[in-house]
């Protein structure tokens, strides 16, 4: 029983890491831009596809498979740098003054477009590039074999991203400007913060994080059409549960979802699918503004 629980916790942690990586970029973008970015799932998928293509190119060129890991980072940087500014400047920037629902729908339209773009570029055959997983090997817990990638690397990267982001947001000037905009957009703009640049930077950064989520997932899963769709709903649930733009909240929510899911798979598999939603409803019932969300001052 003790071993069983340990295994459930390990599985939960590994899954939580994935969930966090999927949701953190969306949380950041939502916190600052207040745009619920449906295209986030597309960026996730494109990150995965670009990483897989890079990995395949590396393998084809005969380079060492040790390069496969940094290639994941490179892929997310490429996707962020290419798509982020393009979409933010060309599309989002035109509608910041419009209603939120229009902003959301714009990203929905983008999602539909990008969905077909992926299909045109990468086809419909599942793509799998697991060199990074293989290069790291396995590790045993009791007599249960785990991959190092899943047990150490994914949670490690998630933790690093969490700590790095917190440091960035609290200790650097850019980070504190972002926090200021998250907390009170009007006040921050009144203080002379150049909101345009903050938006551009945050969106690009968020896209890169989404792509990183996809890139990190790509060695463990097949990339198929529609892979982004599933990510969207999950990350939406995380953002709402966490509280607006709360990175720590996203981490805690991911942890709850990860552990909840693995406990469900072990003891009540029927409930696995609805775990994120049950957690969300439960959290919002007790804390109407999310785990870490503060009620926005009601304006009279």
């Amino acid at each position: 029983m003790a071993l069983l629980l340990l295994l459930a916790v390990l599985d939960g942690l590994a899954y939580a890491a994935q969930v966090f990586m999927v949701a953190v970029g969306l949380t950041l973008i939502f916190g600052v831009l207040r745009v619920l970015n449906v295209a986030h799932g597309s960026f996730f998928a494109i990150g995965g596809y670009v990483a897989a293509s890079l990995g395949a190119a590396i393998a084809a060129a005969g380079f060492s498979s040790a390069l496969a890991l940094p290639a994941l980072l490179l892929a997310s940087a490429i996707v962020g740098a290419l798509l982020g500014p393009l979409i933010e400047r060309l599309i989002l920037a035109r509608i910041y003054d419009k209603e939120q629902v229009l902003q959301l729908l714009v990203t929905f339209a983008l999602f539909m477009i990008l969905e077909d773009v992926q299909k045109l570029i990468w086809g419909v055959q599942p793509i799998f590039q697991d060199a990074p997983v293989r290069s790291l090997g396995q590790v045993a817990v009791g007599d249960i074999v785990y991959t190092v990638y899943q047990l150490y690397l994914l949670p490690g990267v998630a933790l690093a991203v969490l700590v790095g982001l917190m440091w960035f947001l609290r200790r650097t000037l850019t980070g504190r400007v972002i926090v200021a905009v998250t907390e009170d957009r009007e006040a921050a703009t009144a203080l002379g913060i150049d909101a345009d640049r903050v938006y551009l930077f945050t969106f690009t950064f968020g896209v890169a994080l989404a792509a990183l989520g996809g890139a990190l997932a790509s060695p463990t899963t097949s990339l198929v059409p529609g892979i982004g769709v599933n990510m969207i709903v999950l990350s939406f649930a995380v953002v709402a549960t966490a509280g607006l733009g709360q990175i720590e909240g996203a981490a805690l929510t991911a942890l709850l979802i990860g552990l909840g899911r693995s406990v469900a798979v072990y003891f009540a598999p029927e409930f696995e699918v609805v775990i994120p939603y049950l957690i969300m409803v439960a959290v919002l019932l007790v804390r109407p503004h999310g785990l870490f969300g503060r009620p926005q001052l009601r304006r009279v």
Binding site: D143, T220, L223
Partner: protein
């Protein structure tokens, strides 16, 4: 005021004019100048893994057919529609094909839900419809259709055959776990397997029933469970990207070393997963087809098809391409038989359907028959993976071709009831194994 009213009328007419140009009815008893075939398949979403190869096969085969004179001397043209957006959209599209494009026949759908919705519509519209890939046995068990037939087997033999194979090659297994996708096929196939297993090999203990969400990308928790439970057999009817992912993740964590896998749809993943899939895994192909089919692989028909498919799409054909071929070959055979019986005149829709029922026709890997209730009868190819130097992916060894008599319920029975009547003796009636030959 007057002018503006006129403008209204004008714009309304303009809006009407577009669709009004389109409709035309086509109930042709005369030999048409072109045979239009509507094809519904997945062009987007995860099931496009099957849908696009199916469409590709149709494109290739129709080209070849037309070069050889088409069907009954009439060239064939396909109109493809996407079934991914759901039933309401698909039914609208089917109506468009029938009532506007005037198609002469429909080849319908991969998803069982789509087929269950399209078959009644075919009936209403009197549209000859061939169900080309969907698997649910419910269609012809719960209703009878005059205008719909199916040119492949269904879920019952697709599940019974691998079970009989397993019982034959590993008669000693005592525990089993299932990992199926959480949707109708995953649930249906498990219900059939469980009922049949209790009849053929009573006393096997099911240690885990795992149904990860459809579209899941991570099976690590399930794999941990399976590693800890150590079942003798792991059964999964998953397919596409999810099956690939499951195989990779299981292989990386050495699950294959602990349990025997039964993967009835894995033929369609072999090329993609490559030798990550170890030897000794029981695999199936949803019917009597594989590009190295043991009895047909040296026939010019299959060899040429595999070659031209490969050179065009850079992949080996997988089961949906064979299913598409079966549907097109059946259509051609039925038309030509009906024309001959008609003394050379073009058959009516009803004549076509009457001919399809009971039709025997040749396809890429052999000869098959459509039963009187519209259900196709084909053998089931089941075998075991083996690594050979000729291919960068596993091939199928120790193949058994289960005949329909052994695995398919007779007309008028329900598959799920029928499998409960199976006996352990059924295992012994399985034909001999055929080894892989290079």
């Amino acid at each position: 005021m007057l002018t503006s009213t006129r403008r209204h009328v004008l714009s309304a007419t303009a809006a009407l004019a577009v669709p009004a140009l389109l409709p035309r009815s086509a109930i042709a008893q005369r030999r048409p100048s072109e045979l239009k075939v509507g094809i519904s398949t997945f062009l987007s979403g995860p099931a496009s893994v099957f849908g696009v190869p199916g469409r590709n096969a149709a494109d290739l085969l129709i080209e070849q057919m037309n070069r050889a004179g088409g069907i009954g001397g009439v060239p064939v043209r396909s109109i493809v529609i996407d079934e991914a957006p759901g039933v309401d959209f698909l039914l609208g599209e089917c109506r468009r094909l029938v009532q506007n494009e005037g198609v002469d026949a429909m080849l319908a759908s991969i998803s069982s839900g789509s087929c269950l919705a399209v078959a009644p519509l075919a009936e209403q519209l009197r549209m000859p419809t061939i169900l080309w890939d969907c698997g649910t046995q419910r269609i012809f068990e719960e209703a009878s259709y005059r205008y719909a037939v199916r040119t492949q087997a269904n879920a019952v033999p697709e599940i019974v055959a691998p079970l009989l194979y397993l019982a034959k090659v590993r008669p000693d297994f005592r525990t089993l776990a299932v990992v199926n996708q959480d949707y109708a096929w995953g649930r249906d196939s498990w219900a059939i397997w469980k009922a049949a297993m209790d009849a053929v090999k009573p006393g096997v203990r099911v240690v885990a029933e795992l149904f990860p969400r459809f579209g899941a990308t991570d099976f690590s928790t399930e794999i941990t469970r399976l590693l800890a439970l150590r079942p003798d057999v792991i059964f999964s009817t998953s397919w596409g990207g999810e099956l690939d992912t499951f195989i990779r993740q299981a292989a990386e964590r050495r699950l294959f070393e602990r349990s025997t896998f039964v993967l009835p749809l894995a033929e369609s993943s072999l090329e993609r997963v490559g030798k990550t899939l170890p030897e000794g895994v029981i695999v199936g192909a949803r019917g009597d087809h594989w590009f190295l089919h043991p009895t047909a692989k040296d026939t010019p028909l299959l060899r040429d098809f595999v070659q031209s498919y490969r050179s065009r799409f850079n992949l080996y054909p997988i089961y949906p391409t064979f299913h598409m071929a079966q549907a097109l070959f059946a259509l051609k055979a039925a038309y030509e038989k009906a024309i001959a019986a008609n003394g050379g005149t073009w058959p009516s829709r009803e004549q076509l359907m009457d001919t399809l029922r009971g039709l025997e026709f040749d396809h890429l890997t052999g000869r098959m028959k459509i039963r009187e209730d519209g259900q196709g009868l084909e053998p089931m190819l089941i075998g075991m993976t083996k690594h050979v130097p000729e291919y960068p992916f596993p091939v199928i060894d120790r193949m058994v071709l289960f005949p329909p008599e052994l695995t398919m319920n007779p007309i008028g029975t329900k598959g799920l009831d029928w499998v409960r009547l199976l006996t352990p003796a059924a295992v012994q009636r399985a034909p001999a194994e055929i080894p892989y030959r290079a």
